[in-house]
């Protein structure tokens, strides 16, 4: 369609053309000499041309003019508008019919063409007006039409595309989802929609709808990159929201919850399904409900509430502390439509804060309550804070006490070593413990016990030091006093010990001389008395003989006394050789030694199960000898003597017989074996139990039971030399029991026992 056709759309031009053509047709007949013979049919092409170009009207116009011209110029009578001959009438009629038919036909064709052009124009206008891209291809994949929007999306102009081959222009397309879709649409004759990314040079997402047609393929397409990116962005955001530990909630202006992430589920315990559509007030405790309204007012003003710390209620009714940031939500136009809130559970932190506050408070109270001076330094051991208690005591100014200045208040003799100790502690992060003299306000120094500990931070680094100074001046002074007294005492003990040792030496010499010199005269008295009695009896009257016998008996008794005394004194000087001993063996040996004493008597001696002990075997044998000898002696008047040698394990005071209550030593520990010898003899009165073990102490008259009074004294001396203890229990005429214990380590207590013995000996000075 050209400019020409466009100009003929106006009727005037078409009719001018029709007149023109009629004139032109008239002129073609001028060459004919005989107009009457001229072929009228030659008008027909002009009429047809006019009809084709101008339509029905111009066709008829041209035809009318041509007929008039023919009648006037070519039909007899020439020069008039009448028709003389019938033949001419026929010719003109044929011409007229031809003209009408041609005109009608031409008009029809013209109308069709115009309708088509109209439709094409409409289509093009439509395609140009849409925002989608549109391409049309023929079956050889050549662009036949591209709308401007489509060309723009492809970064070019329609004229650069039309006529070109798709695959040549877009080499990547062939391998892309697009190429596949196009081919399929074309081949299968089905519409297909495809959305994919096209790389260089477009780098964009396209959504393409393919429509196959008889001519080829039409494509509608749009660039969906932006919406794609937006989708991804929102997916990403959604993932972030869902993945967050914080409770991220959105609500509308009425406080109705619109979204509820997993963090919110975790923190509040409600699921999204439970909460979406519900008022947010559900998680707000009754005493915080006012908050909500306030928050909403803020939000409607377009303001954000940041890190508001408040309380919320969980599904299971717990109150939790949360830190919430609430921001307004806007729609596309920027109008506020709701609020988003991001909440974090800070209950743990709050608790820690509260505990910290409590602890801080406690610390402060302690500092106030204590009589001690509390001090703090930084990690380098320098005083940086004011120390009121320190200043109060020392009178130092705050400036003077700063850094290491506080050491100025120490006694000059203590400064050096204190500074050393402090440096060591600060460097090693170790406990700081020392004592020093601190100068008070009044200039008097007082002893302080000082303790300092490093306070670590969470990483374990020393953050600061906290310490105390306790006034121990009075204690130190008292200790000093005690020490002096102890020194005096020790000196006196040394002196006394020396005196005692000297006395012991004298005693030994005395005992030795007793052994020799006192026995010799006794022997003489006894010996010659006996000779008198045996060889000179006839010369003596019975009275004299009796006296002599008394002399002899007394001499013998004195000999025994001396012997006992010697034995006793020897025990004090003899060295102990302890080893593990079976006491029952010792008891058996003692019993066999005492065989003569049992002669002619009914005596039952039972030896029980005796645990082994640490003792000097000879001395232990002596102990059993003495105890058994006593038992035999005091059971002499029993028709049947019964003696038990036994032992039991001490069970503590509650579990024992009365025996252990009366005389057991305080130091007796459970499981210590207690050995005993029990008889059913004469016994003794417990009132005199204290005198049992004294030297020469006797509870029986000599005419009842003979004896020297050293047997039990010897027993006690042996037992105490072993570090043990012996005690007796009995009742008159009801037998007696003697108990003794020996420490596991016999020699350890020897010295101690000697002291104990001497004090006991000193107490038992009374004679019966």
């Amino acid at each position: 369609m050209g400019k020409h056709s466009l100009s003929l759309e106006r009727p005037v031009w078409r009719y001018l053309l029709a007149v023109g053509l009629a004139v032109l047709a008239q002129l073609t007949f001028i060459p004919f000499e005989d107009p009457s013979s001229s072929p009228l049919i030659l008008y027909a092409p002009f009429i047809v041309a006019s009809a084709i170009l101008g339509g029905l009207g111009p066709g008829f116009t041209t035809m009318g003019l041509c007929l008039l011209g023919a009648i006037y110029f070519l039909v007899e009578p020439i020069g008039s508008l009448t028709i003389a001959q019938p033949m001419d009438r026929d010719r003109l009629a044929v011409l007229a019919v031809t003209g009408v038919v041609a005109s009608v036909m031409a008009e029809h064709g013209r109308r069709n063409r115009e309708r088509l052009a109209q439709a094409n124009r409409k289509m093009t206008a439509l395609l140009e007006s849409i925002s989608d891209g549109f391409n049309a291809f023929d079956r050889e994949w050549r662009y036949t039409y591209v709308n401007t929007a489509g060309a723009k999306m492809l970064g070019t102009k329609p004229e650069h595309l039309v006529g070109r081959n798709l695959w040549e222009l877009w080499p990547l397309a062939s391998q892309s989802p697009f190429g596949a879709a196009y081919r399929r649409a074309m081949a299968d004759n089905v519409p297909i929609q495809v959305e994919a990314f096209y790389g260089e040079p477009l780098n964009a997402w396209f959504e393409v709808r393919c429509y196959p047609s008889a001519e080829g393929l039409s494509l509608f397409y749009s660039d969906v990159t932006k919406s794609r990116r937006a989708q991804e962005q929102s997916r990403l955001l959604a993932a972030i929201v869902e993945g967050s530990d914080d409770a991220i909630i959105s609500k509308d202006l009425k406080g109705i919850i619109r979204s509820w992430n997993q963090g919110a589920e975790r923190i509040y315990g409600y699921s999204a399904a439970e909460m979406i559509g519900q008022p947010v007030a559900r998680v707000i405790p009754a005493d915080h409900v006012d908050e909500l309204e306030e928050i909403m007012q803020y939000i409607q003003l377009g303001r954000t509430i940041e890190h508001m710390e408040t309380e919320r209620l969980t599904k299971d009714g717990r109150r939790i502390f949360v830190s919430v940031t609430i921001s307004p939500l806007r729609d596309e136009e920027g109008a506020i439509v709701g609020a988003s809130s991001i909440g974090r559970d800070i209950t743990g932190r709050k608790r820690a804060e509260s505990a910290l506050k409590q602890s801080e408070l406690r610390y402060r109270s302690l500092v106030r309550a204590t009589s001690q001076i509390v001090w703090t330094t930084n990690s380098r051991g320098e005083v940086v804070e004011d120390l009121p208690a320190w200043r109060e005591f020392t009178g130092q100014s705050p400036e003077n006490a700063q850094g290491w200045g506080r050491f100025e208040a120490l006694h000059p003799d203590d400064r050096g070593r204190t500074a050393d100790a402090w440096s060591r502690a600060v460097i090693n992060h170790s406990l700081y413990e020392t004592e020093y003299r601190l100068r008070g306000r009044d200039g008097e120094y007082r002893w302080m016990a000082v303790h300092g500990v490093p306070v670590p931070d969470e990483q374990g680094n020393v953050q600061e030091w906290v310490g105390t100074c306790a006034d121990i001046h009075d204690r130190v002074m008292a200790e000093e006093e005690v020490r002096k007294l102890n020194q005096t005492l020790e000196r006196r003990v040394v002196e006394r010990t020396a005196e005692l040792q000297a006395a012991n030496k004298e005693l030994e010499a005395f005992a030795y001389s007793v052994s020799h010199d006192l026995r010799a005269p006794l022997r003489a008295i006894s010996g010659f008395s006996r000779i008198l009695l045996e060889e000179h009896a006839p010369n003596l009257n019975p009275e004299a003989q009796r006296y002599l016998r008394i002399v002899t008996d007394n001499a013998v008794q004195m000999g025994n006394l001396i012997d006992g005394l010697l034995t006793f004194s020897r025990l004090g000087r003899q060295a102990l050789t302890t080893r593990t001993v079976d006491p029952s063996d010792m008891a058996r040996l003692a019993i066999s030694d005492l065989a003569p004493e049992q002669q002619g008597r009914e005596v039952e001696i039972r030896i029980g199960d005796l645990p082994a002990c640490q003792a000097d075997p000879l001395l232990l044998r002596q102990v059993y000898f003495n105890l058994l000898s006593n038992a035999l002696k005091y059971t002499r008047r029993r028709t049947s003597a019964c003696i038990d040698v036994g032992a039991f394990l001490y069970r503590g005071l509650d579990g024992q017989s009365d025996a252990c209550r009366n005389g057991a030593p305080r130091g007796l520990a459970p499981e210590d074996p207690v050995y005993y010898v029990r008889d059913n003899g004469a016994g003794f009165d417990m009132r005199y139990a204290g005198k049992l073990f004294g030297v020469f102490q006797r509870l029986h008259r000599a005419d009842e039971y003979e004896g020297t009074g050293v047997g039990l004294a010897t027993v006690r001396r042996i037992i105490t030399r072993h570090g043990g203890h012996v005690w007796g229990e009995g009742a008159l005429d009801q037998g007696a029991t003697f108990y003794f214990i020996l420490p596991a380590n016999g020699q350890a207590a020897e010295q101690l026992s000697e002291e104990a013995e001497s004090s006991e000996a000193a107490r038992s000075g009374e004679r019966v």
Binding site: R519, A520, R523, S526, G527, R530
Partner: protein
């Protein structure tokens, strides 16, 4: 050898009672005892012609004590084989040990009781003088 006259008499009495006191020689102190046994060259005293068959020795002798005498007797080849019985009042372990260390033949503590004393003396006299055999030749040398 005994310094106490009472003990000497009692001992002799006890021995005599059992006919053992025939050839007793009493020496009153340690020095006298040594002179009797070994002689004294300075004073021109020669040892006893016939060495004793038994020595009864008290420990607590004046001048030279019994332990010393015992030591000399037991260390001298001439007197070594003479049985020595210590007859003493001392029951001290230290004395007892010392005596046995010096090869004493018996150690008897003098009992105060005369009966016991007599019996002890009698038994040791019987034993050492009558029952105990000893090498005669050696004693003569």
């Amino acid at each position: 050898m005994e310094d106490n006259p009472a003990d000497v008499e009692l001992t002799l009495h006890a021995l005599g009672k059992h006919n053992l006191a025939n050839h007793m020689r009493v020496l009153r102190d340690g020095a006298e005892a040594l002179e009797y046994l070994f002689g004294d060259e300075e004073r021109g005293v020669s040892p006893a012609a016939i060495p004793p068959r038994l020595i009864l020795l008290d420990l607590k002798l004046p001048k030279v004590n019994g332990i010393e005498v015992l030591g000399r007797v037991k260390s001298d080849p001439r007197t070594k084989s003479i049985p020595v019985v210590v007859l003493t009042s001392s029951r001290e372990d230290q004395d007892l040990h010392m005596c046995y260390e010096l090869s004493v033949n018996s150690y008897i503590v003098k009992p105060v009781d005369f009966g016991n004393f007599t019996e002890a003396v009698r038994q040791l006299g019987l034993y050492w003088l009558l029952l105990n055999e000893r090498p005669h030749g050696k004693a003569q040398s």
